[in-house]
């Protein structure tokens, strides 16, 4: 234990432990409840509410104060002691608070959203279990336990994506998510192993602190020299690549992004919590934890990955018709921004964006949930065969769902990053720093910030398209079915309260009193890396203006296209349309390059197993059968036959001999005579 830990520290640590453990407790309680029990929702919600309060207390105690780090010996192998403990610094308490605060409205929302589900308490079991894993992940100080929570997060995500496991698509989706995350887990695991071999510790603080072991080690002459030992330089590259892989899988970055859109098969409330705000942010959080590992070229690679992902996902989101899929690609795109931010050294902006994105994306998903819920009702009331998530069937919900509409607009504006919203502060921070970063480099590097800029306009377009198609115009389903019965409302307070709460969190005052300049946000300054200097370039003025003016133009364009329908409509046959609509053919390419060969290999192995290995076994069995048959024959006819022959010989000799024992005196005498005579004759003959 850390001897300097004072009384207040102790209280904070206890609060943290309680905040992490409460959802687990709720999960256990819910697990014991009957499957349809309505109490489950309130158990989980109460647990997360208390977690939230405790997290707020911890946050208030730790933010901008010296970090608290307590650890205890977990186990000893040889002379190596492995410690486990809790590391509370600005980053982890921010995540602790963020996760619990996002989880709370989602829990409240879920009590209404999942009300009619047959496995209501199971849902809350999984949801609480996820919260436990995520909260544990952010406060733990040890890479092994970090990995364990990382896996638990993936596992609970798997359970929730496949929550409606009777749908074939959901089963496919959760399998896909699980397998793709497994690829990232291999990367993380190998990185952890290499770090342990190099530094002999799993402790995150020792490894990645300002003067930590990672910072002290250098690569020269093909050797990676650390304070404890040295390894070939290739090991460092493998470790970094492993971390990048883990981040790419968890945060759905290219090339491992394709699981996230499919993960939308889960309940929408799950998507809001896990696949928009918290779990997918775990990758970015991991980057934040291990940031000192990345230098120079590695950061540039991160920036490229993030930038490409952001751009690609945004182009895909332009043409999708599935409401949740658009939001999923938007999430991928925004996560790409965060990775880009990490890559260009905008560490605090990136984490700032993570926090703001969590709120507005969660809000947008909850809105999507309400809309889909209403469409589902319309579908069931009128016995229609429609996809309730298809935005081309929606329209005109502005009047029917007024609160939802306002929430969607606010969330959308924050996502686009218009002034006065939280998204503006964080996104412009990343863009400005990206431009500053590319200034000092080759001309080629300026592609990255320019692409990011274009992406933000694309974002404006698809957000506008989504909102205009869903909320403006006429309800397009009535064109096809004129006699629809419609009972569309915003829903009760469990729907409205989370929306209002998250709406308020999308505005600037929560993060900064200055709505224009991100540098003044308390969250930004709290996460600044040591030695970070805010640039004084002219970008600070130009970028926000350019971004927002163009965004407004783009939104107006979308308005003209989708509401007024005066402008041209896009041709739906062009190459770019098809590229975007088919999601850049990634799924098809992966299917062809990876899935098919793997399945082919599987089939071949099955064939090999069935015909060659089984055949060999069967052959052996047949041979053994033959040998056994031959042995049985030999046993029966030769060995037994010989014995029977002996027995029958002895018997016949006995029978022959017993004929002499007739009991007749004369016969005995005759026999004796015959023998005596025979002896005489023999004697004469010999």
């Amino acid at each position: 234990m850390n001897n300097t830990s004072s009384h207040t520290d102790l209280i904070l640590i206890t609060c943290t432990l309680a905040a992490v453990a409460l959802p687990l407790l709720a999960a256990l309680v819910n697990f014991c409840l009957p499957v349809k029990s309505k109490a489950a929702g309130w158990v989980s919600t109460l647990a997360i509410l208390i977690s939230c309060v405790l997290a707020a207390k911890v946050f208030a105690g730790v933010w901008n104060n010296p970090q608290i780090h307590v650890k205890q010996v977990w186990f000893t192998i040889g002379h190596t002691k492995v410690y486990a403990g809790i590391l509370l610094n600005n980053l982890s308490v921010l995540m602790l608070l963020l996760v619990s605060v996002i989880a709370l409205p989602v829990h409240i929302y879920s009590t209404a959203y999942m009300k009619h589900d047959d496995r209501y308490s199971r849902y809350f079991t999984y949801l609480s279990f996820f919260c436990f894993s995520m909260l544990g992940l952010v406060v733990i100080d040890n890479l092994v336990l970090f990995y364990a929570f990382w896996e638990l997060v993936g596992f609970s995500s798997y359970l929730l994506i496949g929550f409606w496991f009777t749908r074939d698509k959901a089963v496919q989706a959760n399998k896909k998510a699980f397998i793709m995350n497994r690829i990232g887990d291999i990367g993380l695991l190998s990185a952890i192993i290499i770090l342990f071999v190099q530094y002999r510790t799993f402790d995150i603080e020792l490894l990645f602190a300002q003067k930590g072991l990672v910072v002290q080690s250098v690569v020269n002459n093909g050797l990676w020299n650390g304070p404890v030992g040295s390894l070939p330089a290739i090991c460092q590259y493998i470790a970094v690549a492993g971390i990048v892989l883990a981040v790419a899988a968890k945060s759905a970055q290219f090339p491992l992004h394709t699981w996230l859109p499919d993960a939308m098969e889960g309940p929408t409330s799950v998507s809001a919590l896990i696949h928009a705000a918290t779990m997918v942010a775990a990758g970015v959080f991991l980057l934040g934890r291990v940031y000192p590992m990345f230098t120079g070229t590695e950061l540039s690679i991160l920036a490229c990955i993030g930038c490409f992902t952001a751009f690609m996902a945004a182009t895909i989101a332009l043409t999708q018709n599935d409401l949740k899929r658009i939001l999923a690609y938007s999430t991928i795109s925004q996560l790409g921004y965060m990775i880009l931010g990490m890559g260009v050294g905008a560490y605090s902006s990136s984490l700032f964006h993570l926090a703001t994105h969590a709120f507005f994306k969660c809000l947008l998903f909850l809105v999507a949930g309400i809309v889909i819920h209403q469409m589902q009702h319309i579908k069931e009331d009128n016995h229609l065969d429609i996809d309730p998530q298809d935005i081309s069937l929606m329209g005109g919900f502005r009047k029917k769902l007024p609160l939802t509409f306002i929430a969607a607009v606010i969330g959308g504006l924050a996502l686009v990053g218009l002034p006065l919203t939280s998204g503006y502060l964080s996104k412009d921070g990343i863009l400005i720093q990206a431009f500053e970063w590319s200034d000092g480099k080759d001309a080629w590097f300026s592609i990255i910030p320019v692409m990011a800029l274009v992406t933000s306009w694309l974002t404006a377009f698809y957000v506008a398209r989504l909102i205009f198609k869903v909320f403006f115009g006429d309800f397009r389903l009535t064109n096809a079915y004129p006699n629809l019965k419609l009972h569309v409302t915003d829903g009760g307070w469990p729907y409205k309260l989370p929306l209002v709460f998250l709406m308020l969190c999308c505005f600037f005052p929560l993060f900064s009193f200055n709505p224009i300049a991100y540098e003044h946000a308390w969250l930004f300054s709290g996460l600044k890396l040591p030695g970070f200097v805010i640039g004084e370039s002219s970008y600070h003025l130009i970028i926000p203006v350019v971004v927002n003016v163009f965004s407004l133009l783009v939104i107006y364009l979308a308005y003209a296209i989708y509401v007024k329908q005066i402008a041209f409509s896009f041709p739906q046959t062009g190459f770019f349309y098809r590229l975007s609509y088919n999601q850049w053919y990634f799924d098809k390419i992966y299917k062809r390059i990876f899935v098919k060969p793997v399945l082919g290999l599987g089939k071949f192995l099955y064939w090999f197993d069935k015909n060659v290995i089984d055949g060999f076994i069967h052959l052996l069995a047949a041979i053994a059968g033959c040998i056994a048959g031959a042995t049985a024959w030999i046993d029966k006819y030769l060995v037994d036959g010989f014995l029977h022959l002996m027995a029958s010989t002895v018997q016949s000799i006995g029978n022959f001999a017993r004929k002499f024992q007739s009991g007749k005196v004369q016969y005995y005498l005759f026999s004796m005579l015959a023998i005596v005579l025979a002896l005489f004759i023999l004697k004469i003959l010999i």
């Binding site: 017993r658 007739s662 009991g663 007749k664 004369q666 005498l669």
Partner: protein, 101 residues
Amino acid sequence: MITLNDFLIISAALFCIGLYMIVSKRNAIQILIGIELILNAAILNLVAFGKHDSLNNSGQIFALFAIVLAAATTAVALAIILNVYRRYKTIDPGKINNLRD
């Protein structure tokens, strides 16, 4: 001239007849007669060989003893046959097979 061989041949013939009777007859009395014939063959041999003995008439005296002994044994044998008859109601030795296993 009657030679020793003639006596021996007669004796052997008697012996064989006696043996045949013992083996083949179905009546205990006849078997007893066969035994007597064998005994007489032996006595005849004794008398015949006695002629060539250094002591005069010793063979004949032995023969007399043997005849007496034979009478005694015949008496005993008849008594046995009587008892057998009482027990088995037959004197056919072929039917008395209690010695069998």
